[in-house]
C-alpha cells in the first residue's frame, strides 16, 4: 500500500529527485565567458605566455604549475589561470608590483578531472596573451 502511494506521488511529480545544487564541473563555455569578461574588447593571441603543467597527472590533488610571461618586467598587469573541468574554474589571479623579479608564479593546484587548463596574461599595453594545456588526470582531486 505504501509503495503504491509512493508511486502515485512520484508520478504526480510531488517527489522530486534530489538534484545537486552545483553542477559537478564548469564547462568550456563558462570559462570562455570568464575570459571574455577579463579581456574585454582586446584580441587574445596564443603566444608569449608559458603554462607549465604535466600532460599526464597521476594525482589531481596536487599538481605543480608554473606560469610565466615573455615580457619585460613591469609590462605584465595580471595573469589568470582557469581550469575548465573543475567545479570552480577560476584557479588563480596574480598582479605584479615594482619589486617583482620576473613575471612568473609557481604553485600547486587541484584538478578534478582530465581537462584543458588556460592561462591568460594581460599586459600594460592592453594586449592579451594565452596558453593552454590539455592534460590527463588518472586520480582526480576528491570533490566529495
Amino acid at each position: 500500500m505504501m509503495r503504491r502511494r509512493f508511486l502515485v506521488l512520484a508520478g504526480s511529480g510531488l517527489i522530486v529527485p534530489l538534484a545537486p545544487i552545483h553542477p559537478a564541473h564548469a564547462t568550456p563555455a563558462q570559462v570562455a565567458a570568464l575570459i571574455a569578461q577579463l579581456v574585454g574588447d582586446a584580441d587574445i593571441h596564443d603566444a608569449r605566455v608559458k603554462l607549465d603543467l604535466p600532460v599526464m597527472v597521476e594525482n589531481g590533488n596536487s599538481v605543480g604549475m608554473t606560469v610565466s610571461v615573455d615580457a619585460p618586467m613591469g609590462g605584465v598587469r595580471s595573469i589568470d589561470v582557469f581550469a575548465e573541468g573543475n567545479p570552480l574554474p577560476h584557479v588563480l589571479r596574480v598582479r605584479f608590483g615594482p619589486h617583482a623579479g620576473a613575471p612568473r608564479f609557481t604553485t600547486r593546484i587541484r584538478l578534478a578531472t582530465s581537462q584543458t587548463v588556460i592561462a591568460v596574461a594581460k599586459l600594460s599595453d592592453g594586449s592579451c596573451w594565452r596558453d593552454s594545456v590539455d592534460l590527463l588526470v588518472t586520480l582526480a582531486a576528491c570533490i566529495d
Partner: protein, 106 residues
C-alpha cells in the same frame, strides 16, 4: 596562526632577481566536499596573498579553492637595497597573518 616555511637567500645581488619559496600549512578546504553525514564542509581557504618589499608591492595573488592543500608559492623578487620582505595572507575568516624576512643586498 598557521605554520609557514619560507626560503629566501640571505644575501642577494643588487637588482638581480632571486627566488622566494613559501610553504603554508593550511587545509585549503574547498567547500566542495561533504562529510560522512552528507553535510557540506564549509569553505576555508587562504584567499589572498600579498608580498611587499620595503612597503612596495612584489605581487598580489587571489587564490581560489583550486589551490592545493598546504599551498606552495614561489616567485621572483628584485631588490636595489637591503630591506624587509613581508608576506601577508588572509583566510576566509578574515584573519591576516604576516611573515617577514630581512634581505641583505651585497
Amino acid at each position: 596562526m598557521v605554520r609557514v616555511l619560507i626560503n629566501v637567500p640571505k644575501q642577494v645581488k643588487r637588482g638581480e632577481p632571486f627566488d622566494v619559496k613559501l610553504l603554508i600549512s593550511h587545509p585549503m578546504e574547498s567547500g566542495q566536499r561533504h562529510d560522512d553525514m552528507g553535510q557540506p564542509i564549509p569553505r576555508d581557504i587562504i584567499n589572498s596573498f600579498v608580498c611587499t618589499y620595503n612597503g612596495e608591492d612584489v605581487l598580489r595573488a587571489d587564490l581560489f579553492p583550486a589551490i592545493a592543500a598546504n599551498p606552495f608559492l614561489s616567485f621572483a623578487v628584485t631588490a636595489q637595497e637591503s630591506g624587509t620582505l613581508a608576506m601577508a595572507f588572509t583566510d576566509d575568516h578574515g584573519v591576516v597573518q604576516t611573515e617577514t624576512v630581512s634581505v641583505t643586498v651585497e
